[in-house]
Symmetry: C2
Subunit: 214 residues, 2 copies
């Protein structure tokens, strides 16, 4: 699969792009916001395109043209305001879904947040962020795409352990970003994850083992 990574310059995105680049099974095209970011990827031999999640759906569709799957791992981040939460995490995500449909790319993997599906478990401090993720996920479930919604727990920068736990509903826990990226890799063509959402934290199984049980 040629995988279009939205948010390639993010912390999960960088792990994922590297894994896709090293993979025998997949190719990667990184979508980034700035030319400098694209140049950095290109210097590493990685295909990269510049597109803006606040721009037109057709621009995103053109950037993704010819890919077989889209991974949405962009996030407005903690340093921006809730305007970007609405315009990137929600509207930018849905625009990417519409771009996938426009470009005829059926496979879509969304990186969400643990328990974004259950209002009563939204993190109290960042409820508005969870609302944005929740409705992006709902739009994806209502789309025509073959989706997988991965809802990781608290994200850590420490090296991955290679072992995860993936279930429809899990208690809040944490997981290294590298293990989230490895789980995205395993999910891409794992049919057990098609049209499903699941929570993801550190655990005892390899990503492939964990996903095959879904």
């Amino acid at each position: 699969m040629r995988v279009f990574v939205v948010g390639a310059n993010g912390q999960i995105g960088r792990h994922l792009v590297k894994m896709l680049k090293e993979s025998d099974q997949h190719d990667v095209r990184a979508m980034v916001r700035k030319e400098e970011q694209a140049d950095e990827f290109k210097a590493d031999g990685i295909e990269a395109v510049v597109a803006d999640l606040e721009g037109a759906v057709s621009d995103i569709a053109a950037a993704a043209d010819g890919c077989d799957a889209i991974v949405f791992t962009a996030g407005s981040g903690g340093s921006t305001g809730l305007d970007k939460t609405l315009l990137i995490d929600l509207d930018g995500a849905v625009k990417t879904m519409e771009a996938a449909e426009e470009a005829g790319i059926a496979r879509f993997v969304m990186i969400s947040a643990i328990q974004a599906n259950n209002r009563e478990n939204w993190s109290e401090k960042i409820r508005p962020y969870f609302a944005a993720k929740h409705y992006a996920d709902r739009e994806l479930m209502n789309s025509s795409l073959t989706y997988t919604i991965i809802r990781p727990g608290g994200l850590l920068n420490e090296p991955g352990t290679g072992k995860v736990k993936a279930e429809a509903n899990l208690e809040r826990d944490s997981i290294p970003r590298e293990d989230v990226a490895a789980t995205i890799m395993a999910a891409l063509d794992e049919e057990a994850t098609y049209n499903k959402g699941f929570d993801l934290v550190s655990g005892d199984d390899t990503p492939s083992e964990a996903l095959s049980k879904l």
Copy 2:
């Protein structure tokens, strides 16, 4: 119809509650956030209940129990932050839809904003607000409810003219809040508005005439 008005204490809500109260065809139950607000309505002989759009769906469903239609005209307003835009205008609206389904109330009228359906026409200064309204409207269209989405132009406090224009897509223009309320009244059991959304500005037709052309 017994009509449950969410946002009864808002500026459109107050006009609407008064019209429903004076109507021979309809009854009204006002939903408000505070006991004092409920007491004011009750002093005017209007049924009123206290419920919180940031609370549980089941509480909203209980508050609406026995009604035949719901009008959502609540808004977080200009004086609050985008946290409330996400939690009231989007999540509160969708909770109200879920409450309608839970309470078996099929008819739902949403007050949105002109061209909230077209990203390219969102008011640049308040794009995040338009995003919230857009996705609330999309959730309604994906629900099982018999919906009408009314998207008024710039809201004025001057007295109504009794004359409006209602079409699927209109140029930005303005309309008195009193005329929006009169259009909601006319839409409640007007089948030409079922499962449709339309822009609304001041015009040359009575609300009934305008809606029958949809």
